[in-house]
Every structure is written in C-alpha cells, then in structure tokens.
Symmetry: C2
Subunit: 200 residues, 2 copies
Amino acid sequence: MKVENKHTKIIAAATKVFAKKGFFTARISDIAKEAKVADGTIYLYFNNKYDILLSVFEEEVGKIVESTEKLLRLEDDPRRQLEIFCSQHLHSMKKNRYLAEVLQIELRQPYKLIKEYRDNTFSKYTGIIAEIIRNGQRLGLFRPELHPDLAKRCIFGALDELSRVWNASLETNYTVEEITNQVLAIFLIGLEVTRSSEEG
Amino acid sequence: MKVENKHTKIIAAATKVFAKKGFFTARISDIAKEAKVADGTIYLYFNNKYDILLSVFEEEVGKIVESTEKLLRLEDDPRRQLEIFCSQHLHSMKKNRYLAEVLQIELRQPYKLIKEYRDNTFSKYTGIIAEIIRNGQRLGLFRPELHPDLAKRCIFGALDELSRVWNASLETNYTVEEITNQVLAIFLIGLEVTRSSEEG
DNA sequence: ATTCCCTGAATGGCCATTCATTCATGTACT
DNA sequence: AGTACATGAATGAATGGCCATTCAGGGAAT
C-alpha cells in the first residue's frame, strides 16, 4: 500500500517533470522534489532514469489501451468504432496533459529501449486503427483502395498533433467533442463541400 | 568557399548524427568524426550544440518553405494547392530522410530555443495549410464548419506521421505519389465508400 | 534489537567547450 | 626564386561542470 503509493507518486511526478523539461534535461532531483521524496528513494522503486520513462509509458498508456479496447468490443460498426477511438484518445490526452506531452516528445526518440517499447507495445495501440479500417473495408463501408497502414498513420498523426492544441497558447478554446467531430468530419466525409451537401 | 564547404559539411553531418542518436546523446565528437573535422573546428562555425541544431532547422527547413511557397503561388485552386503542399512535403522528407527524423524528434522538445524556433518560424510553414483551407472556404469549395486551425493540425500531423513509413522496417514499399494520393483521398473525399461512389 | 524504509551527501564518469599549439598558405623583401 | 615572417584555420588534449547513481547511516515500527 505504502509502496504502491510511492511508486505511483513518482510516476506522476516524473510524467509532469518529463513533460515540462523533456527526458534529458529533467534531473532525478527534479522528480524527487516534485514527488516529495529523496533522490535515493527513486532508486528503491526504479532501476534507473530510463526505467522511469518506460514505466510511465507502460503503466499510463496501458490503462488507455485497455479501456479503449473494452469500449470497442461493444460496438460493431467500424464508423462508430473510429469515432470511439478518436474520442477516447482525445479525452485521455486532455485528461492527462502531461502524459500527452511525454508521449508526443519522448516516444519518438531513437533510443533502443524506447524504440523497443514503441515497436512491441505501442504499435498495438495504433494497430487498432488499421484493424478498424480493414474491418470497414471488409464490410464494404470504407473504400477498398486505401491502405490500412497508411490510413492508420494519417489518423493517428492527426490525433497526435491535434492533442497539442491544449498546450498551445492561442487555440485553447476547443472541447474534446468539437475536435472529435472535426476529425471525423474530415476523415469520414472529407474536406470538400460537395460531398457532404450531396448528403444533406 | 572553403568556409562555406565546411559549414555545410558540419550541418549535413549533424543532421545525420542527430537523426541516428537524437540530439542529447549525440556527441560533438560524433559530429566532428562524421564531418571529418576536429572537435574544435565545429566551434569555429557554431556557438554551441544548440546552435548546430537550430541551424539545421533554419537552413534546411528554410529551403523547403521557400520552394513550397513558390510553387503554391502558381496555383489558384485550393484543392490543387493542398495536393501540392502534401506532395512537396512528402517529397522533401523522403529526399532528406535524416532531416525528416530530426524534425519529427527534436522540433517537439520543450526547450526554450526550440520552442521559439517552432513558434516563430516553423509555424509559418504549417500556417500555409490553414491559409489554403480558409481560402477554399471563401471560395465555397471546403466545408465552412471546419476550423482551419484544427484541419491544419489534422493534415500536418498526418503528413508528419506518414513520412515515418520510410524509416519503419516493414511498410517501406510506398512511393511518394501513392502516399500523396492516399492522403488526398482520405482528406478530400473521406474514408467512406458511399461518398466517392456517388461521385463516379 | 532487528527489520525496513528512507535519506541526501559524496562519487565518478561523461562530454561540451576551451585554448595552446601546429600547419598551410600568402606576402614581402632581397 | 629563395628566405623570412605573418596570418588565421584547424587541431585535439585538457578542463570543468553537471548529474545519475550509490551507500553509509538515521529513525520508526514491531
């Protein structure tokens, strides 16, 4: 209990410090101060600095993946699934702003351990999108000439970049719902006015 | 002449080394070795390590922005302009893979100087997309309910993430044209099969 | 008194940056 | 055309600071 508390506290502190300073200029003593523990205490719970970062990834992202997958299982229509994925992702990123920043910044680093995490674990998360698209194609709902792996990148890249609006100074006034709607409007229906007006 | 050569050589070497190792674990001596100069020589051309990174941004990205803007001026139709922007961006990133990686990784770092560059200079580049969209809305070609600033992020995020396919191990077999077409298919026309088939 | 956390000062290694020195080239003088 | 001197680009070993990590000791709980 006590252990779980301190572990969690350090994870939260590290997420915040990494978000603000970036992994490499963040000092262990910054994290310790933020978590209100001694520098040495951190090494009772983590092997080294990288281990802290990887734990942030694994534990925090793990929660998101799990809850997203659970929600998706309740829905059959790929269009709705896409909506759920986008909405969930944006909600998570807004709720945990620091985690969002850490993911956006550090998940791309070309270091062995980070790459490994990205390729082995995180890619499953973005893979969900490709799966949805493949399924939509199978059902004849999505256009068959699209490559699911490219579409997946389009969508994930868009979500990733969009979740930065809450950190940017100016464009802070969007709600999650608004952004989700915009994403789906663009991806499902497209930019052009003719398509959607033919609809209505 | 000699000077220009060495400056350029160091920029190229740094781009490569930063791409492979990331800014923070890249050592000056790595860059020096790659550029085939002495460690000290680098300080005849740059003030410090950050200065090298910023120079990479400014000089290399500067070229891209300039040539993109020139091309866009020759075209009126926002749909075509969007196509040009996407195609140009992807072409540039494929041509200079190391630069692509450095941009994707380092441009997001939360350090003052990098932030400044991003907010003051780089944002002009992504701003081009928002401008195209605004223009398309004015002309009644793009849907008026879309926020140009959100759409801009969608599109840039998608392009950014897509240009990683050339670094990933598996999905390497796409051409720039193929990817451009996919992006436009998704953004302009949307994912759903009904919209595009109503068209044909 | 033993166990279990916890602490934070001290250690050691790494690397950006510096700078005394070398070397190549150019210029001037005979 | 050979000698002497000047310049400044280039070098790379040495310096110094920073910070992750360690560990000897403190103190609370049983």
